[in-house]
Symmetry: C3
């Protein structure tokens, strides 16, 4: 069983945002999968996806503060500057965090740890709607 | 062919640990797969998985020393502090390294480079047993 | 449908290189896949793979300059030094960026965003030919 569909997320502010629920709601077909994998891929190079803590919003704030220090704006050696000071750092953060997550599916549900969720990492000051490609592959119940 | 199972690793000290053998021993079903992929997913947000050098233990020591400098404890801007100084850095390291690895399988075995192995990256001072979800998908021999 | 093959890339200079076309040319079987996933895995621990901007070469130059600062050579605490000053940083960069990318396939083609491409990240001064394992899984057209 293969299902593939695109999911458009509403524009988010710069920072880290939990999107586990949106992914699950966008893919009701998952309930028929006994064992499988869900691939979530973002079609952009200035936003990214990762799995991390799903409970305390201060973790997501600390992510934003950490990555802004680890990948500063306006480094004198940046040559790609035409799209604003947040653009080149956005590309770098995107590759540090990654363009996709791959998640186990069991008995119709994402099989995540109790404290795990999927983050949309918006690295631009004014990111637009972000498009994801969801690809689900697995065994169906008979 | 789909196989999915959970593997519990014994508690490890903070640092980077080779676990390729444990994964292989935990999944004898792999010997029946001609061509496939093995997904290894960690059900935690303060430990992670990566692929790197499998021979010289000093590489793994240098990983621990590097990541401790790249993601320091006790940064004044951290707001998520309740679980101790090693906790927020553990979440950040987890997303820098990743929650899963996806590995090719050929003729019943992991198809890794000569010098590649899978690392469990334990980012907490006193991490407990870590649980992995192994998902194997592939073609069986006739 | 499962296809798995090895692809050898010619040696590249240290830095970040677009290889999307080489991957596509190396896998003509992809044209028969309606819905699927392509896994690209590098069999080395001193080079890596990532998805990022495919148009402006200065982005790739900025990647090289950023990662050289984020992961410096000759850190006094490195103990793994036998293979030269570029070796330990290469291992670290490899895990920061990752050993593999997983890409959606739709209607016979990679389904990437307009500005996305696959980078080979060569972290050694004198890297040799790099070997990739391509694993394609998907639904065939009837």
């Amino acid at each position: 069983m293969w299902i593939q569909k695109e999911l458009s997320l509403k524009p988010r502010s710069r920072g880290f945002h939990l999107i586990t629920d949106e992914i699950e709601r966008g893919l009701p077909e998952m309930q028929d999968v006994v064992t499988g994998l869900l691939h979530v891929f973002i079609l952009h190079t200035s936003a990214s996806l990762t799995v991390n803590e799903n409970a305390d919003a201060s973790v997501r704030g600390d992510f934003e503060r950490f990555f802004n220090r680890a990948v500063p704006e306006n480094e004198p050696y940046y040559q790609h500057r035409d799209e604003g000071p947040d653009d080149m750092p956005a590309h770098l953060k995107s590759s540090l965090l990654g363009s996709s997550v791959l998640l186990p599916v069991s008995d119709g549900q994402l099989r995540l740890g109790t404290w795990q969720g999927v983050y949309l990492c918006e690295h631009r000051d004014h990111g637009s709607s972000r498009r994801l490609v969801l690809t689900l592959n697995g065994n169906e119940a008979l």
